[in-house]
């Protein structure tokens, strides 16, 4: 489709306190490929116009900041803001700055608030941007929090959709963006109480785990490399909502539990503090059984 018939969908991708693992994971996207995301119509008639994305963009310095600000003002209320990383808030956000204005370093916190206020919606990409994540872990030296918390504090009402994971699976990101491009913002029924799309985060890892049969018959791995369920090695699969066991990672090659590594629960708001030590058996919890999540849903719907 030539110019005019393709709608340019402006996107600003802002990085806060991040390790860049989220963007690196999105670069692993297989369908659509990264070429599809960058130059093709990612859904027919819609092209994602990446106005600001520090990891790939050609521009640097003031030129890059100008590109971001002019996109935000030209498409006020229309652009999608993607935030990768958490937001340092301690001491007015001095621990993280991007760019300068009038000779003053501009804190990440200021950018996120002003960019979020003018956006159509925010996609919080990765557990840091959703819930604070690793950099918000105790003692949280820089006061890192997720986008929703910053937004609430600043009385900004732009909707936030969470795409957690450390890193997030590329399909969770592209699926969420495609959902917005095809059908607008998801309704409340499509999201769970932690702001995630139920499409990807509707079931526990434990429900579809290929090692579930070992759990049911009580065969537990005692050390790494053993056959068996990884429960006693600290697996957080029974407490973690994500579709990793059926989606798999890196274009279907493998996944954490597939390689014998216990799930660390990286898509959960509890990650990492309430899920560490990572290699110690989860105790004093009633482990859920298949179907409990939906039974609970039905019960609460009836109430």
């Amino acid at each position: 489709m030539p110019k005019g018939q393709v709608q340019e969908y402006p996107v600003v991708w802002f990085q806060g306190a991040t390790c860049s693992g989220c963007v690196v994971s999105v670069l692993n996207s297989a369908s659509p490929t990264v070429r599809n995301l960058l130059v093709d119509q990612v859904v027919p008639g819609r092209h994602v116009s990446l106005k600001f994305m520090p990891t790939v963009m050609a521009a640097a310095g003031e030129m890059a900041i100008e590109a971001m600000e002019s996109a935000a003002s030209a498409s006020k209320g229309e652009y999608l803001l993607i935030v990768e990383g958490s937001v340092p808030t301690k001491q007015n956000g001095i621990y993280g700055a991007v760019g300068e204005k009038d000779g003053r370093e501009v804190p990440i916190m200021e950018w996120v608030i002003s960019l979020a206020a003018d956006a159509l919606a925010v996609v919080a990409l990765g557990t840091c941007a959703c819930y604070g994540g690793i950099f918000g872990a105790r003692p949280n030296p820089t006061g890192c929090v997720g986008v929703s918390d910053v937004r609430a504090e600043a009385h900004v009402s732009t909707p936030v959709i969470n795409v957690p994971g450390c890193p997030p699976h590329p399909d969770w990101f592209t699926g969420t963006v495609a959902r917005i491009l095809l059908g607008g913002l998801p309704s409340e029924e499509e999201l769970d109480e932690d702001g995630r799309l139920l499409t990807f985060f509707g079931k526990l890892i434990h429900e579809h785990c290929p090692r579930r049969a070992y759990f049911d018959e009580g065969k537990f791995a005692k050390r790494f490399g053993d056959e068996g369920c990884l429960h006693e090695l600290g697996c957080k699969g029974p407490l973690t909502y994500a579709d990793c066991p059926i989606r798999l990672w890196n274009n279907g090659q493998n996944w954490c539990i597939g390689s014998g590594g216990p799930c660390a629960g990286c898509t959960q708001p509890e990650f990492p503090d309430l899920f560490s030590p990572f290699y110690v058996k989860v105790s004093d919890v009633d482990l859920p059984v298949i179907g409990e999540y939906w039974a609970e849903k039905e019960r609460s719907a009836q109430e």
Partner: protein, 519 residues
């Protein structure tokens, strides 16, 4: 005199600012600042030592594997099992880290650095049938050129044909890079942030199908390295040959070596490594690495001065912002009191100075093609060339290592976690020398520190006001147009900076950690 601030430096990992003073078209002064502080080492305190292996990967999402390797070596040492890691565990660790090298180096040249040299808009009037180039042409026709424009203008020199080939390779490299992570996940579980490398070895088991799959995937990537990546480097080098004289830097080079070839104690001098440790300089004079000579200086960083110039295992740091002499969250690591460059160039020069036959043959081959001597390596293009050659060196070795795995043999060595202890893990990240140090007390981490490649390369001035390697590389450069300082960003990017890695906080002060119980 004109002051130019470039903030943010894009197409790198993390938040970096470069400030230069230009007089009469020449850079008189340069300052490199790390602009984000996260305190990850403070977050590690009070935790189960094994968790360091998971958490330190989140220092950097581009080279998390290097942190899990350094952390595993560090914990192996602290747990007293450094010399007892089973061969399968050691080899799979190397294969996982090797995959990360391929990922990081290919990403760097094609997706971080190339847009400084390659003009995407040259595809506008393309009339051929290549599907990638046709897609780019359609994209350009629609007129919204982000993220490829705007950019610093004024020095795109490749011919139309060279540009188009390079754009096609940019897109091909996106797919190849993805495959390096698929390769990594075969034994690593997933990427980024693998879950397989643990103290004691790995969690994955080698099977014949995985080995075969790994071998042929790495062979496919080797095709790309041999026939596309290295050829592109030579092509860019021929057209931008003046960049062999730009961005020299401090002229001191440091490598801890990387990829253990047998289970050995932690002492760097006793390790048998595929890429060997050492120091060298522009005379290619060789020296051995003495880890006790490493210190971190703080005069120009936002930390308390009273703890400056300590060895990492003994470091104490607390943030001080603002601080009058300071301009960065990055500290200044020094070896024997001097700045040292780390990275693929440093590793290659150390190996070259040692007379390593494989490295010598490759380097001399490329220098022959360019009709130049080894002195051109101390430059922007030297860094790119060394990175490409190292990619080949590692990929070729991986194809041999994978066949040394023994299905059915152990992958993991058991251990008892000590109540008290200390450990060190020195290794090589794709971007250079990486060291982790741990102290364990009462069964939990009392101090953890990582001294990472970009802390060396992008460090600010030290206590004697000597600029860091990247700052030295920028000072003296000609800047043609202050509005488009492409010369400066080319130098910065040649180091492949990773700012997320370089900024962190350490403090061995014991703090009472909130007891967390699950439910």
């Amino acid at each position: 005199m004109k002051k130019i601030v470039i903030d943010p430096i894009t197409r790198i990992e993390g938040h970096q600012k470069i400030e230069i003073t230009v007089d009469d078209g020449v850079v008189k002064d340069a300052r490199s600042s790390g602009m984000l502080f996260r305190g990850i080492e403070l977050i590690l305190q009070g935790r189960d030592p094994r968790d360091a292996n998971r958490i330190t990967q989140r220092i950097c999402g581009v080279c998390p594997t290097a942190h899990s390797m350094a952390s595993a070596l560090c914990l192996d040492h602290a747990f007293g099992i450094a010399d007892r890691i089973p061969d399968n565990g050691r080899i799979m660790r190397n294969l996982i880290l090797g995959s990360n090298y391929l990922q990081s180096h290919i990403l760097h040249f094609y997706h971080l650095a190339a847009l400084d040299y390659v003009d995407v808009t040259s595809v506008a009037d393309y009339e051929g049938t290549d599907p990638d180039l046709t897609a780019v042409k359609d994209f350009i026709e629609r007129g919204e050129l982000g993220p490829f424009v705007p950019r610093y203008e004024g020095d795109y020199r490749l011919s139309k044909e060279q540009n188009r080939a390079a754009v096609a390779h940019y897109l091909q490299a996106l797919r190849v890079r993805r495959k390096t992570h698929e390769l990594l996940s075969i034994f690593g579980g997933k990427a980024p942030h693998n879950c397989s490398i643990v103290p004691g070895g790995v969690t994955e088991r080698p099977t014949v199908d995985k080995m075969t799959s790994f071998l042929w995937r790495v062979n496919e990537i080797r095709d790309f390295i041999d026939n596309v990546y290295i050829a592109d480097i030579v092509m860019v080098a021929a057209v931008y040959s003046d960049h062999f004289e730009v961005g020299k830097g401090c002229g001191n080079y440091l490598s801890y070596g990387v990829f253990d070839l047998e289970a050995t104690p932690s002492d760097l001098g006793k390790k048998k490594r595929f890429i060997k440790p050492g120091i060298t300089d522009t005379e290619l004079k060789l020296g051995t690495v003495d880890p006790s000579k490493i210190t971190e200086q703080l005069k120009h960083s936002w930390y308390d001065d009273s703890f400056t110039n300590r060895h990492p295992s003994d470091g104490e740091t607390s943030p001080r912002y603002p601080k009058s002499a300071a301009y960065s969250w990055i500290k200044s690591p020094r070896y024997d009191g001097k700045p040292y460059e780390v990275g693929p160039l440093a590793r290659t020069l150390v190996s070259y100075a040692q007379g390593d036959p494989a490295v010598k043959e490759m380097v001399d081959g490329v220098l022959g093609e360019l009709k130049a001597g080894p002195d051109v390596l101390f430059s922007v293009l030297g860094r790119h060339a060394a990175r490409a050659l190292e990619t080949k060196l590692v990929a070729d070795a991986m194809a041999e290592w994978v066949l040394q795995l023994k299905p059915g043999e152990p992958v993991f060595q058991e251990y008892d976690m000590p109540e008290e202890g200390a450990g060190v893990g020195m290794s090589g990240a794709p971007r250079g020398a990486l060291g982790h140090w741990i102290r364990v007390k009462d069964g939990v981490i009392s101090n953890y520190q990582a001294v990472v490649p970009t802390t060396w390369n992008a460090s600010p001035r030290d206590d004697s006001d000597t600029p860091g390697p990247m700052e030295q590389a920028i000072i003296g450069t000609n800047v043609r147009d202050p509005e488009n300082p492409f010369e400066v960003v080319r130098i910065v990017r040649s180091f492949d900076p990773c700012l997320a890695c370089s900024v962190h906080l350490v403090t061995p002060k014991r703090r009472s950690i909130r007891k967390v119980t699950l439910l």
